[in-house]
């Protein structure tokens, strides 16, 4: 079998029916907020599309993104991703190892120069020339710069690759940065999330194969169709927020009634992602449905944005001591100046000479 045959041939070989395929295309069109007619266009384009070569580089990360992608659903939109692309290098998933693995990456980079998609998960450490993370003796920085040269586009997967994520959290000992901090001359799609929603990756790939271009992106480089709204906008608990009904602890009456988790620190209002509509684990639920507030994992610096359990309207730092200190300082300044004023007054009184008739 030719590794880079069309997707149609590939699906036919695997016995995937046209009906199932059209259903997938309709779902993709709907998720990408395209008009209903676009499903047919997607289907036609995908059937004919040559499966692009994909090189997947994993850097400073926890493999959670790959785990999320490969284990999320069965059977599966996400398996389709591997039918839609020819995954030529992914050191966690591929069978080859050692020199064989690196050779397959180099071969793909040569053969499909200028055409392959580069998927990156994980941040890139820069301190001490990047020695904090190396693969086959080469630093992540070196591998990324080399692989990005021939890439048609880069898809940064997960918050580490998109915004630096946890490796970038204070005090960031390895000097970890995002892909977009290093590569400036290639189109980059940021699919953030810790981990990101698998269907978003599939959607971006389907869009690329259908239209030959990357989807419309927001100001942080994320596909607008998936990151255009906040979790709060689409949360099923939103009516409770509007009514002012809040859970005050994780096991109170409000929590049992499914009230809003704002006061327990939910970051839904400031988090752009489609968890509330796309959901997780085969559309089972998303974190708020399990009773925990959103952590805001698809936003930059989510790890440093205050406690996960501090409400968005509350301060992220201690205020009581600061306020008390300021009050004491204010009183001290007033008292000190008052003493100085009184001393001045006393001196003025002492130096005062009484007026006598002689003066007149």
């Amino acid at each position: 079998m030719n590794q880079h045959d069309t997707l149609g041939e590939r699906l036919a070989q695997q016995g995937i029916s046209r009906r199932a395929f059209l259903k997938f295309c309709t779902a993709m069109a709907s998720m990408m907020a395209l008009p209903p007619g676009a499903a047919t266009a997607i289907a036609e384009a995908l059937i004919k599309a040559k499966r692009p070569s994909v090189i997947w580089l994993s850097f400073q990360e926890c493999t959670g993104c790959t785990e999320s992608l490969t284990r999320s659903h069965t059977p599966t939109l996400e398996n389709l991703i591997f039918d839609m692309i020819s995954l030529d290098y992914h050191h966690t998933l591929q069978a080859a190892s050692g020199f064989g693995a690196e050779k397959s990456r180099e071969d793909a980079m040569q053969e499909f120069f200028g055409k392959y998609l580069l998927v990156v998960d994980g941040a890139i450490p820069l301190h001490k020339d990047g020695v904090y993370s190396t693969i086959a003796g080469r630093t992540n920085l070196d591998l990324l710069q080399e692989a990005s040269k021939g890439a048609a586009a880069i898809i940064a997967v997960g918050t580490c690759a998109t915004f630096g994520g946890i490796p970038n959290a204070k005090p960031n000992p390895t000097g970890a940065v995002a892909v977009s901090d290093i590569i400036k001359d290639k189109p980059i799609v940021n699919i953030s999330g810790c981990p990101p929603i698998p269907a978003v990756i599939t959607g971006v790939l389907a869009h690329y194969l259908t239209f030959g271009a990357l989807p419309e992106l927001d100001d942080l480089g994320r596909p607008r169709s998936y990151y255009g709204e906040t979790i709060h906008d689409r949360c099923y608990r939103r009516p409770f927020y509007d009514q002012g009904k809040f859970a005050k602890s994780f096991d109170d009456e409000g929590a049992r009634n499914g009230w809003c988790l704002f006061e327990l620190g939910c970051k839904g209002p400031t988090t752009h992602n489609s968890c509330a509509t796309t959901k997780w684990n085969g559309k089972t639920s998303f974190p708020i449905e399990s009773g925990h507030g959103c952590l805001g994992c698809s936003e930059p610096n989510f790890w440093d944005a205050g406690s996960f359990y501090t409400p968005l309207s509350a301060p992220t730092v201690d205020m009581t001591k600061v306020v008390a200190g300021a009050a004491v300082a204010g009183a001290g300044v007033a008292a000190a100046l008052s003493v100085a004023d009184r001393a001045k007054k006393r001196r003025a009184q002492q130096s005062h000479e009484k007026l006598t008739t002689k003066d007149l």
Binding site: P269, N301, S313, V322, A326, A334
Partner: protein, 219 residues
């Protein structure tokens, strides 16, 4: 600096800076006035300073006799604004979250629908007062730049809070940042402007009343 780090700043160090300026400035201003001290009055008192002080505190809080209809606009709309502002500030659950983080105790919130009404009424009162300040010749003459500056500084948190709650205009995150910044500007400006009346109003009324009371004058 992205929006997330900006939000982190205004909820963290930015809020601390604003709170320090506000508390230090206000404590200093109030104590500095009180510690000025007064010479002992050697004259024989002709009345009670205590009663005179209390009477003036009360009298200046209610419309004075002979008030014109234009005067009533100031008094009534002024009361509506102050009460509406305090309810909005103290009884929205998100505000209680902020205040209790400083004060370490909580109190029950009012329903958000009610707070929406108090916000609209407060905004309407502020606009009425501003229009009145422009149209009334005496008020216009008495107003200086501070009256307009403090109006803007007080109006902005109300307006941005309302827009944030209603989801109008900017996204939640941007509007939350703008709302917190307007609050911090208000806190920082307070000790240096007429807004400091929030602590000195009643002590000033007391002071005037007590002088008159000591002299046996009824004001």
């Amino acid at each position: 600096m992205n929006q997330q780090t900006l939000l982190e700043f205004v909820r963290g160090p930015g809020l601390q800076i604003a709170a320090v300026v506000f508390v230090l400035g206000m404590v200093y201003r109030l104590l500095q006035l009180l510690l000025l001290g007064r010479k002992k009055n050697l004259a024989t008192p002709r009345g009670s300073a205590l009663r005179g002080g209390l009477r003036t505190m009360w009298h200046r809080s209610i419309p004075s006799p002979g008030l014109t209809s234009r005067g009533y606009i100031t008094v009534i709309t002024g009361y509506v604004f102050h009460i509406g502002f305090m309810i909005t500030l103290l009884f929205l659950s998100q505000h209680i979250e902020l205040l209790s983080a400083v004060l370490k105790f909580e109190w029950p919130a009012l329903p958000p629908g009610l707070i929406t009404i108090t916000t609209i009424v407060t905004i309407a009162a502020m606009v009425t007062l501003l229009v009145h300040r422009f149209t009334d010749p005496v008020k216009r003459l008495l107003s200086d730049y501070q009256d307009y500056l403090t109006w803007i500084l007080t109006f902005l948190p109300l307006l941005t809070g309302f827009l944030l709650k209603q989801g109008i205009g900017l996204g939640y995150q941007q509007m939350l940042i703008v709302h917190i910044i307007t609050l911090e500007l208000l806190l920082i400006a307070t000790p240096f402007t007429k807004l400091a009346h929030m602590l000195t109003t009643f002590s000033a009324r007391w002071y005037n009343g007590a002088i008159a009371g000591y002299k046996g004058i009824k004001v």
